[in-house]
Every structure is written in C-alpha cells, then in structure tokens.
C-alpha cells in the first residue's frame, strides 16, 4: 500500500510522485518525549541532588527517626533519623553512573566483537560466536558475583562484570546488522564504484547499522541498573553510609510491617527511572525501523 506516495509531483521530467514529507523528517514523537524528559530529570538530580533535596543525606537526627512521609520529609526518615528523600536523591548518581559504566563496556566490547564478526567469515566469525555463547551462559548477576569474589568488592568491579556479561548481546545484534547492511545493493554498488572495503565499512555499513545497537544500549542500561541494585540489596555495594537505592530498600525491609514506605518508595523511584530508560530504547528502536 503506497497510499502515502501520492503527493503531486514537482519534477517536470518525471510523472511519478516523490515520497511525502512525513516519511522523511523524523518527527519528535510523544512516546519519545515523555521518557526523554524523565531521563533528563534523573540526570539533573544525579548531578545536582540539592536541586530537590536540601537536607543532608548523612545527617542523623535520632529524635526524628522513622517518621512517616510529610511535607518536611517527603519519604519519611530512616531508623537513625536521616531524611529518606535526600538519601534517594543522592543515590541517583551511583546508580546511573554504574549503569553507564556497565553499558559502555558492553557496547564498546560487544560492538567491536560484532563488527569483527560481521566483517569476517569462516573461523574468526565462528570463534566469536562460540565465545558469545559461553559468555551468555553466565548470567550478569552471577558474573558480577564471581568478579566481586575474585577481585574484591566495589561497584565499579560489579559494573565491569555486568558489562562483560552484556557483551554477547551487543555483539550478536551488531553482527546481524553488519551482515544485513553489507548485503544491501548500495554497499555492493560502492564496492563496484571502486570504494575500498574500509571506506565502505566506515561510510555505508557502520552508519546504517548502529541504530539498533544504540537502542539496545538503552534497554541494557536499564537492566544493568536493576542488577546493580540487586547487588546493593544483597549487601555487595558501597559500604554503609553511602546512599544506594538497593541498600536503602534492604535497610527498610526490617521495618516493613509498620514503616513500609522506607522500602517501597525508593523502589518506586528506581522503577520509574528504569522504565523511562527502557521506553527511550523502545522508542529509538521503533524510530529506527
């Protein structure tokens, strides 16, 4: 159905009509705007938590312990009287940073593996495929736990481990895209026109194949943040005074019966951020098609 191609033709020599505008200019769509705004908000809070939380996240006020949410303490106070809202706000940066570290490693490492694999055939391609199989067989959380055991604790170590576990996912998508674009007529036409293989790869194959990989990066970033929060919940995050979301939820768990908000509200914030990042990825993927 080419109903969209029916605008009147301006070109004198050609009776056919060209494609109409909307197909060409990628319009900014609402499904893209809302998650983008939310993610931008979280980035802002990560960089300047004071914007919304004026209180000190580490200041304990024993007389104000376990207060319910109020105008002064939006998320209430914890067991030693620290403002929970300030702790959540200050916990944004470590979550986001660790997610970005993980996904950067996955994107760069996996992307390179996928590129090499996509441009080569035979034994090298096969070897990379098997390596990806092996990496896929060790889930991200387990990989992170193994790293933490072998190298010692630290959010960066865990983030690196998750990034390594994510590499095969990126590698597979990258490889498939490179193979797809390499087989398209315009890539072959470039070769026939005398453009060298490296130039063809850089000018035609890469720009047309990294869209889905970048969309995947958003999805994987959300998952990395989730896994990292699980590690922090299990007690393998930064040491205690640091306000990490997973650790906040773990600390709140002891007061579930009465002060349920201590564990539940940080979880809502975490979910909101991951949903926003994920939607961004979905929107980018759809835009790419």
């Amino acid at each position: 159905m080419t109903a969209a191609r029916q605008a009147p033709a301006p070109a004198a020599a050609v009776t056919e009509s060209p494609g109409s505008g909307p197909l060409v200019r990628p319009r900014v769509r609402p499904e893209f705007v809302l998650p983008a705004v939310v993610v931008a908000f979280f980035v802002l809070i990560a960089l300047w938590p004071e914007l919304i939380a004026s209180q000190d996240p580490t200041l304990a006020q024993p007389r104000e312990r376990l207060l319910p949410p109020s105008a002064e303490h939006l998320f209430g106070t914890d067991s030693i009287g620290r403002d929970q809202f300030a702790r959540v706000a200050h916990g944004t940066l470590p979550s986001l940073r660790a997610g970005l570290i993980a996904v950067s490693i996955g994107l760069v490492g996996g992307g390179l593996l996928g590129l090499v694999s996509g441009f080569s055939r035979g034994p090298l391609d096969l070897a990379i495929a098997r390596l990806c199989d092996a990496l896929l067989a060790i889930p991200g959380l387990l990989m992170a736990l193994a790293f933490l055991t072998a190298i010692g604790s630290g959010v960066t170590v865990a983030a690196c481990a998750i990034g390594i576990a994510q590499m095969p996912v990126f590698a597979r998508v990258m490889r498939a895209e490179v193979k797809r674009v390499s087989a398209l007529p315009y890539t072959e036409a470039a070769a026939a026109a005398g453009v060298g293989p490296v130039a063809t790869a850089v000018r035609h194959v890469l720009p047309n194949s990294w869209g889905p990989v970048l969309a995947l990066a958003a999805l994987e970033c959300g998952q990395a943040i989730l896994i990292l929060s699980s590690l922090s919940y299990l007690g393998f995050g930064e040491p205690p005074p640091a306000p990490e979301w997973g650790a906040l939820i773990a600390a709140g768990q002891s007061y579930l019966a009465v002060q349920w908000w201590l564990a539940v509200l940080p979880g809502v914030v975490l979910a909101a951020m991951v949903i926003a990042i994920t939607r961004l990825g979905h929107a980018a993927r759809r835009n790419d098609r």
């Binding site: 098997r130 390596l131 199989d133 092996a134 990496l135 896929l136 067989a137 060790i138 889930p139 991200g140 959380l141 387990l142 736990l145 193994a146 790293f147 933490l148 055991t149 072998a150 190298i151 010692g152 959300g222 998952q223 989730l226 929060s229 699980s230 919940y233 299990l234 007690g235 393998f236 997973g246 939820i249 773990a250 709140g252 768990q253 579930l256 019966a257 349920w260 564990a263 539940v264 979880g267 975490l270 979910a271 991951v274 949903i275 994920t278 939607r279 979905h282």
Partner: protein
C-alpha cells in the same frame, strides 16, 4: 518436461539443518552436542582465569582469615595459597580442575571442606521447586496476557496489558518480594514471609520470581502473535470464514511459538539466577542462598562450581529448545526428513 521452472524445493538443497535423511538428524545432534561441550569448556576456562589467576592479595588475606588492614608478608601469602590449593603451576591446576569437572568432581569448599557437588545437590531441590513454580506461572500468565493483548481490538486494554510487559521488566525482583510481603504477610496475613515450610511458603517467592519472565513472555508472545495475525495466511483463514478466535488458536499460536520457546530457554536460566535474590528476600535455603554465602566467605571453589553449573544448565536448556523448534515449525525440519 515443462515444469522444470516450477520445481518443488529439493530435499537435499543446502539448509541450516544439514544433510538429508535420518542420518542428517543424528549428525546435527552430534554437532550440537559437540558445540554444547565446547561452550561449557569455554565457560569453565573463563571462570578458571577469573577465579584462579586474578585473585588479589586482599582476597587471599580474607581467605586466610588475616586482618586485611595490615601488610601481609609474602610467606604468609604463600602459606594461604598452599592451604586453599592455589599454589603450584597454573597449568597443573587448570588440568586438575578440568579433569575434576569431567569426572563430576567440582573440588572442595574452601570454608567447609565439603565437596562442592554435594553442596549443589543438597541446595538444588528447594530452588528447583521455586524455579519450576516460577516457570509455570511465567508461561501461563505471560502467555495469557500476550494472547489477550493480541486478540483484543480495544486499544486501551491492549495498552494496559502491554504496560505490564514494560513495568514487569523494570521493577527489581527484591522490591516486588518486599511489597508482596507487606501486602500478603503483614497487612493480610495469608502467606508466610519466609521459610521453606509447606506449599504456602512457595506462593509469594514463586510470584516474585515469575513477574519479570512473565512480562518478557507477554512482550514476545504478543509481538510474534500480532505478526502472525497480520501475515497473509491469517487473511486466507479469515477469507475461509474463520472467526478471529479460530484464526488465533488454529493458525496464530503455533506460528508464534518459536520465539516464545526460544525465550523459555533464556527464562529458565534466569530463574536460577533470580533465585539468588528471591531466596534472600524470603530467607529460603537453596542455590541462591549458597551463592550469596559463597561470595560473603570468598569461597572460590563454590563460586567456580556455580559458574560451571549455570553454564551447563543454560546450554543444555538451549540445546533442548533448539531440538524442539523443528517439531513446532516444519520448515526447520527441511533436510532432516526425506
């Protein structure tokens, strides 16, 4: 002969599945099993490099129970290495451990001196129960939601059902567990908040574990069903006079099944890892508890055993999935029957 140009696809034409005839199938099986063994070996080797080559002095200090804050001497380090079996040439260690894996000997725990395999076997039943319950819930719930979303022509209902697909993958499992405990153990005391006693103790953990895979199944099943329902063969069925429900059940589901079955392999692997978090939330015994404990006590042997175990489970499940797919989609059988 006129029909030379309208040949039916020749059974012996090259296909992903390999050569023709029943011999082709066993060849294929043999090759896939070989691949599986290779991948397990690779996973083992990676974990060996990670756990036996990289350990830093701090880790060793902790292993030896030495106060990590003071400088420890080379002699002390050597003693700890010898004590936990990390001394000697790496190649010898590697070959020993590889030989162990082949003979199902995963070594001994550095902490309890118990054989790692025994620890795994003891911890497996409760986790298996949990994972099986979670798996069934995820498939049933996700399948139902995905199919409803594909069947309905009410846009808001579809949007709502698919929103679950997004939210379920974005909410951490431990938070779901905590919220469920708040709701169904404290506010409405229906189920126990912890323990491994009786079937009722399985309800909340199984739901917690199932949410994330269920939402994945919802997404994938909806997408592949919607695709199948918009294929020309669905139009053919509609033009026979079939109802939308009939088209969905008779023509949609089987054609949409391959991506979901493929996903099931991934999901089953996830369930095993997800149990790490869920078992901690609900204080259940099992593989997850074993894992967390091993990390806390820097028990390298147990962790290494867990990595190999996870790889074996994951790879075996995916092999089963691969072998199941041709039975769902006959096109994948091309070349296997003659």
């Amino acid at each position: 002969m006129v029909t030379t140009t309208d040949r039916a696809p020749h059974p012996a034409r090259p296909s992903r599945a390999g050569t023709g005839g029943p011999a082709g199938f066993s060849m294929l099986l043999l090759r896939r099993v070989g691949q599986v063994l290779f991948v397990i070996w690779l996973a083992f080797t990676l974990s060996f490099i990670l756990l036996n080559v990289l350990p830093g002095d701090a880790v060793l200090a902790k292993l030896g129970g030495v106060d990590a804050n003071r400088q420890i001497t080379e002699a002390e380090l050597a003693a700890i290495r010898a004590q936990v079996g990390l001394d000697g040439p790496l190649v010898t260690q590697y070959l020993q451990r590889l030989g162990g894996v082949v003979t199902l000997n995963l070594g001994h725990s550095l902490q309890t001196r118990e054989p790692v395999l025994d620890m795994l076997v003891t911890a497996l039943p409760p986790t298996l129960q949990l994972a099986a319950a979670g798996f069934l819930l995820a498939i049933a719930f996700g399948g139902l939601l995905g199919a409803t979303a594909a069947y309905t022509r009410t846009p808001w209902l579809r949007t709502a059902l698919l929103a679950f697909g997004t939210i379920g993958t974005a909410v951490p499992a431990f938070w779901i567990g905590i919220s469920l405990i708040t709701l169904f153990s404290f506010w409405l005391p229906l189920f126990p908040a912890s323990g491994t006693a009786g079937p009722s103790s399985l309800v909340l953990p199984a739901i917690t574990l199932a949410i994330m895979p269920a939402s994945l199944v919802t997404q994938v099943f909806y997408e592949s069903l919607a695709r199948a329902m918009s294929e020309p063969f669905a139009t053919t069925a509609v033009m026979k006079g079939a109802s939308r429900m009939r088209v969905l059940v008779r023509h949609g589901i089987r054609n949409a099944a391959v991506p979901v079955v493929t996903l099931a392999g991934v999901v089953a692997g996830y369930l095993l890892v997800g149990s790490v978090v869920v078992e901690t939330v609900f204080s259940r015994a099992g593989i997850g508890y074993l894992t967390v404990n091993a990390v806390r006590t820097v028990d390298l042997s147990v962790i290494s055993g867990l990595v190999v175990f996870s790889a074996v489970v994951f790879v075996t499940l995916n092999l089963l999935v691969d072998l199941a797919c041709p039975f769902i989609d006959p096109r994948m059988r091309a070349g296997m029957t003659s």
